[in-house]
Amino acid sequence: MRRVLFTVLSLWLAFGSARAQSATQLRFCLRSEPKTFNPLLVEEDSSDTVRYLTGGVLVRLNRKTQKLEPGLATDWKVSRDGRTIAFTLRPGLKFSDGTSFSAADVAYTVQQMMEPSLHSPIGDTFRSGEGATESKILAADKVAISFPAPVAGLDRLFDQVAIMSASSAKKEMAVLGPYYVSENHAGSYLMLERNPNYWRQDAAGRPLPYIDSIRLDIQQNRDLELLRLERGEIDLVNSIDPEYYEKLVKEKPALAHDAGPSLDSEHMWFNQVPTAAISDYKKAWFQSANFRRAVSEAINRQDLARIAFRGHARPAVGIVSPANQFWFNDKLRPHPFDQKSALQRLQKDGFRLHDGVLRDVNGHVVEFSIITNAGNRYRERMATMIQQDLAGVGMKVNVVTLDFPSLIERITRTFTYEACLLGLVNTDLDPASVMNVWLSSAENHQWSPGEKKPATAWEAEIDRLMRAQASTLDDHRRKQYFDRVQEIAWEQEPFIYLVTKNALSAISTSLSNAQPVVLRPQVFWNVDELKLAPEVAATR
């Protein structure tokens, strides 16, 4: 009896290990639960990760070269007026559940995306003018989409549009990307299995992706995440904080990767809303370019980068990060730290420094508060350092940390704040994606949202330039316009850009082919080409 049991056991073990050897699993962490699996409604990071791993797109932006590559479409063409794009689709493709893919699915996806009641954030980026969007199915593998007005950078926007099936019973869970969601243990982990119907093959004709499944653990605590990486329980951390990076460099330097300046920057701005409930004399300061420039010059950006970010950031130049190879205006330099020049600028506006206290023309002491979100250690540090820097030119600054909703309420509804320190996450390279920040009528024009008409001449000029670049198709002409926008913003500093953070990541040595870049998703952008070393695969 015992012998039989033993035999059965060993057989089972052998079978089990054989199976483990053949199946490879990539593991990493999400910082929160994905809020939605509908690719059109994706807003936060976790859903975006799932969309990137599962969604099939018509064209794919190569995160490394920053150039477009064919995806589900083998060929595409934007019409001369910039309103229509025509795709030629790869033939014979199937969704993960076996439903076949055709031009009808593209038309369905676009129609869903542009549905006004859905409020798709991606849909908003396509909305350039009033009117309906039309999709024409020219053949089973040919489709043309026409927008009511020209859309700048139209082809690149499709990098974000994961195509959904018009007919599958599984709705958005039927996908065209390298993986599909097989299990969802809410709050704890997600399992993604290799999509057997994925279209890509490697040079040798082997079907991609190489890795059979992905396990996404939901893990908020970054300390624990790093610990699990060091233990080999997970294979990568997409973006890590400078402090953890430093720690990793000390303990396991082979795992740490610094891809240089990212697209993300930290900035502060003064409240310039004309109706805001703050004193008129303060409004007058904040609306003065001299005042803003003086504050900017009184801040030691080098120190911010060196101390607050442990050197893994660099002084920011302006709207566009140097990492954005095409759109960055390389004539601009970060504002230098120069308190003398700052005081001279202030004197032009009638401010006087006396006994370490700065007073304006009418004798009001210069004191204001900076709000930032509680719990973000880096912003709190920067605010505290700015507090000391500005004390050097006699300004008294109060740092107030607020929970995020309260902060948002103050900067978007009640406008009861004086200055705010926040960061901007850029997912897109094209200036079209920041239209809603720079147009003076936009809601995200944060220093003074929703202006009926531009409050200043330079805002009017930015409006004109932004509209001009949006309606131009030639990228070089667009860049000329946008360079000018960057210069005006550098000159006027409605946003005082502080630092550009580096893209830091951690990757297990067992993961090969990983080439971390600055664009999201930094580490697994080439997920279908990633490979796990065999010895690691064997132990799983």
Binding site: E33, K35, T36, E43, E44, P116, H119, P121, I122, D124, T125, R127, A186, G187, S188, I218, Q219, Q220, N221, D223, L224, L227, D403, F404, P405, S406, L407, I408, E409, T412, R413, L424, S433, V434, N436, V437, S441, A442, E443, N444, G450
Partner: protein, 284 residues
């Protein structure tokens, strides 16, 4: 039986009132109905406007609450705005995690507390008494959140923090109670009869302190649940404590109201069970 019913009615009323007050608190808190999505630069003005309108529901609190109670009677607890899922589902998936932590914490805390307190009372071991009392005194002085931070740094399971919170309270209370009871005349009589330590403890001390210990049990359950919030937030355990924290930060009306009611219910039930365990009239 009547006593039980009265207790149940009182609990029900308190829980419902707690829910109403919680809802009012959330509704009139600053930044109610604000969504992070509004900061998405891709969003057009029209789309932001519509988000705001959608969030602007639930303005009238009594109407909301009545409507909510009506739906709750049908088993529908509403939908969480921040996590985009039904509250019932969230609670059902998160509650076991917290209950696991709390039970483990209580077991370990009570086990350690009693294991140390009983020998001290029964064998009058001075060295053990001083060592254990000092340990308990120190543990009592450390904020819960510091424990949680240290446990993360030291890579120890976060659940045990609850044990460290429960242990000193149980130990100090049980030690004092047992030492006092061990000196009572009837215990002396029992010893004078020549009974052994074990028997004296089991028959003459334990039954007499059981009601007081059970009331401590009630207190310790609510203590453990209170400790669960910072522990789960800082140690990243997906329980209802963490959920409550997220709900508070996200002004998640439905979620917060439900969690308030659940936590109130658990606390009151624990206290009530302890109350009922005590003999009638003994309550000062």
């Amino acid at each position: 039986m009547q006593r039980l019913l009265r207790h149940a009615a009182l609990i029900l009323v308190t829980v419902l009132l707690g829910g109403l007050l919680g809802a009012t608190l959330v509704r009139f808190s600053p930044a109610f109905g604000v969504d992070e999505a509004e900061l998405d630069p891709r969003r057009s003005s029209a789309s932001i406007e519509s988000i705001r309108r959608a969030k602007g529901e639930e303005r009238n609190i009594p109407a909301f609450y009545l409507h909510y109670l009506g739906r709750m009677a049908k088993g529908n607890l509403g939908t969480s705005r921040t996590l985009n899922r039904p509250v019932l589902e969230l609670v059902v998936t998160r509650l076991p995690e917290t209950v696991k932590s709390v039970i483990l914490g209580l077991l370990v805390g009570w086990g350690a507390g009693l294991l140390l307190a009983i020998p001290i009372a029964m064998f009058r071991s001075w060295a053990l008494d001083i060592a254990a009392s000092t340990l308990a005194a120190i543990l009592l002085c450390v904020p819960t959140a510091v424990f949680a931070l240290l446990f993360v740094v030291l890579r120890t399971p976060g659940r045990l923090v609850i044990a460290l919170i429960v242990f000193p309270k149980v130990f100090r209370y049980a030690r004092n109670l047992l030492v006092k009871s061990a000196l009572l005349p009837h215990v002396l009589t029992a010893r004078a009869k020549g009974l052994g330590n074990l028997r004296v403890f089991a028959r003459h001390i334990l039954p007499n302190v059981a009601p007081q210990l059970s009331s401590l049990a009630g207190v310790s359950v609510s203590l453990a649940f209170t400790a669960a919030i910072p522990v789960e937030v800082l140690c990243d355990l997906p329980g209802i404590g963490q959920l409550a924290w997220k709900a508070a930060l996200g002004r998640d009306l439905y979620l917060l109201v439900n969690l308030t009611m659940i936590i109130t219910l658990i606390t009151l039930m624990a206290n009530c069970a302890a109350d009922l365990a005590r003999p009638q009239g003994a309550r000062a």
